[in-house]
Amino acid sequence: MCGIAGLIHRGKSSNVGSELQGMLQALKHRGEDSTGYALYGDTDGKNFIMRFKVGENVGEGSSSVMEDVSVYDERKKVVDETLAELGAKVIKEERTLPYSLRYEIDYNVKDLLNFSQTIESIPGVEILSMGKSLEVIKDLGNAKAVCDRYSLDKLVGTHAIGHARMATESGVDIKSAHPFWGYPFSDVSVVHNGQLTNYWNNRRALENKGMRFMSECDSELIAVYIAQKMREGATLEEGMKDSLTGLDGVFTYFVATKDSLGMAKDTMAAKPLVLYESDELVAMGSEEIAIRSVLPQEIDTYDPFDGEVKVWRI
C-alpha cells in the first residue's frame, strides 16, 4: 500500500524533520517495513553532503544477510581512500550507525556521475544521497523509530518528502526503501506510491544510456527516469509530464530538488493524494490525516485529478 508525504515552506524555513516525522507516523498503517526521509536543510551551500551506507540493517524483519561490523569498517576505510584519490576532502564525518554515515565533503566537480560510479564500485557501498542541501535518511521501521535513530526531529529546512513502505515488489532492506536519490543529479529525490508495469523495459533502456540501478524496486525507476530526462535538458516539470506516458502502471509520486517540490499522478488516478496549498505552505500526503499532523485546524484540501503534474518553488 505505502504512504507518501511531502511539504514545502515558501519564503521561510521550519522544523521539517519533525513535521515530516509527524506526517509519516500518521501514515504508518500504510506500511512500516521501512521509512525514509529526504530533507532539504538550511546549509551554507559550500560543501556536498553525502549520505551513504556500507551495509544493511539486519534487524528484525530484514531480508538482508548478517555481516560483521569489521566488514563495515573495512568498506568505510576504502571509501575514505577513494575520496582522497578523487580529490574530495572530508570536512566533517558522522557515523550515526555502524552501517550508516554522513560526510560533508569539499569537492568542486559538477559532474557527479564519475564520482558516484567510483564510490559505488566499492562492494557493499551505496550513496543514499548527494547534494548541497539534500539528505536522504532511510531505514527499517516506522517514522518515529527512524527519526529517533537518526535524530532527525531538529533538522531545519524548507522542504521535505518521505515514504512509509509496505514491501511488496522487493525486499525489506534499506536499498529498496524510498526516497531514491535522482542519481547522478545533486539534490534530486523521489518517493512513489504504486506499481510500474514497464519497469524492466525502461530499466534496460536507461542502463544502456549509462544510468545505474541499486535495487530491483520499481520506484527507483522514477528517480532514474526523471534524472535522465533532466540530463537530456528537460526541466523538472517537463520530465515529470513526460513520465505520464513513459511510465506504465499506477502511481502517485513526488520529486524534490534543491528549490522545488513536484507531484505527478497517473492517468488512471488509481493512487490517492490529498493536497493543501497556500501562499506559505504546500502539504500533501496519501491521506488527509498526514496533513492534519501539521495543520490540525479546519483547512481546505483537494484531490489532484488524473494526469496532473504540479511543481512548487520555495
Binding site: 490517492p272 492534519r292 479546519e298 485529478f305
Partner: protein, 284 residues
C-alpha cells in the same frame, strides 16, 4: 415528465430512469412492500427525537470509539448529533441504520458514512476516498471537496458534494443519486448499474466506462467517453427532474439544465460473453 401516478409499480422505477431492464428475482421492489412494515426497520435501531440534540467531540477518540458513542447517543434518543473535531479520521459514522440528523463540524478521512441506511448527514468539510460507500437510503451533503470512489456501490439515497470530486465517482453504483457541484475526475460512473449522477462542472476521461445502466448528466466539458457510454436525448422530463433534484440538494438552483448532456449505456456490452469474437471487438 413521466406520469408517475398512472404507471404500474413494476415500471415506476423504469419511468424514473432508474433502470431499463425488467427486474426479476429478489429485488428491492419486493423487499420494500409497504404491507410488510417490519422490513423498514432493522433489528437494534432506535426511536430517536430530532429535537433532542447533543455535541460529541471525537478529537481524542478512535473511529470505533466514536462510532460506538454515536450508537450509544442514539440509544438514549438523541436524534441530532453534532460531531466536533473529526480531523480527517477514517471510517467515522459508518453502519448507521437509523433515522438520524448527523452533522460533522470538519473533514472526514476514508470510508466516512459507509454502509448507512437512513441518516441525514451534513459534513461541513471535505471527505476522503469512498465516502458513503454502499449507502442504501438517506442524504449525505458534503460542503467542500471529496476524494475518489465517491459513492461507490451506493444502492439508494442522495449523495451531494458541493465541491469537486476525484476519480471513479459512482463506481459500481446500483441506485440512488449522486450530485456534484464542481468537477469530477476520470472514470466517473465506471461500471454503474443503476441510479443517476449529476455533474455541474467538467468531467475527466472515460466517463461511464462499461456502464451497464443508469444515467449521467454533465453540465460542463467531457474529457472522453468510456467504452459503451453514449449520448442520449435530454427530455423535458429529465429537465424537470434535474431542476427538482438540484433544488432539494441546495446546489446549482439557477443552473441552466437544458444545456446538460445526458449519457447512458449503449448496451453493446450486455451479454458480452455470448457475443462472437468479431462482435466483441465491435462492442469494445
Amino acid at each position: 415528465m413521466a406520469n408517475l401516478k398512472t404507471v404500474s409499480k413494476k415500471t415506476k422505477a423504469q419511468a424514473m430512469g432508474m433502470h431499463t431492464e425488467v427486474l426479476t428475482g429478489r429485488t428491492q421492489q419486493k423487499f420494500f412492500n409497504p404491507d410488510e412494515a417490519e422490513n423498514f426497520y432493522y433489528f437494534g435501531t432506535y426511536d430517536v427525537d430530532f429535537n433532542k440534540r447533543t455535541d460529541l467531540d471525537v478529537k481524542d477518540m478512535t473511529a470505533p470509539e466514536a462510532n460506538k458513542e454515536i450508537d450509544n447517543l442514539m440509544s438514549q434518543g438523541y436524534g441530532t448529533i453534532v460531531i466536533k473535531n473529526p480531523q480527517g479520521k477514517h471510517s467515522l459514522g459508518v453502519g448507521i441504520l437509523n433515522k438520524l440528523n448527523l452533522i460533522f463540524e470538519g473533514s472526514l478521512g476514508y470510508f466516512g458514512m459507509g454502509s448507512c441506511d437512513g441518516p441525514i448527514v451534513r459534513i461541513n468539510g471535505r471527505v476522503g476516498w469512498s465516502c458513503a460507500e454502499n449507502l442504501m437510503a438517506g442524504k449525505v451533503v458534503i460542503e467542500k471537496n471529496a476524494g475518489s470512489c465517491f459513492g461507490a456501490a451506493i444502492r439508494g439515497g442522495d449523495l451531494i458534494c458541493k465541491g469537486s470530486v476525484g476519480a471513479r465517482t459512482g463506481i459500481d453504483m446500483k441506485g440512488g443519486t449522486i450530485i456534484i457541484g464542481g468537477d469530477a475526475g476520470a472514470f466517473t460512473g465506471f461500471m454503474m448499474q443503476r441510479g443517476r449522477i449529476i455533474i455541474l462542472g467538467d468531467v475527466g476521461i472515460n466517463l461511464g466506462d462499461s456502464m451497464y445502466d443508469g444515467t449521467i448528466f454533465v453540465g460542463g466539458e467531457i474529457g472522453s467517453y468510456g467504452s459503451d457510454a453514449v449520448d442520449s436525448e435530454l427530455t423535458l422530463s429529465d429537465q424537470d427532474w434535474l431542476k427538482r433534484k438540484l433544488k432539494v440538494a441546495e446546489i446549482g438552483e439557477n443552473f441552466d439544465v437544458s444545456k446538460m448532456k445526458k449519457i447512458v449505456a449503449g448496451k453493446k456490452l450486455w451479454n458480452y460473453d455470448n457475443l462472437e469474437p468479431t462482435e466483441k471487438k465491435g462492442a469494445i
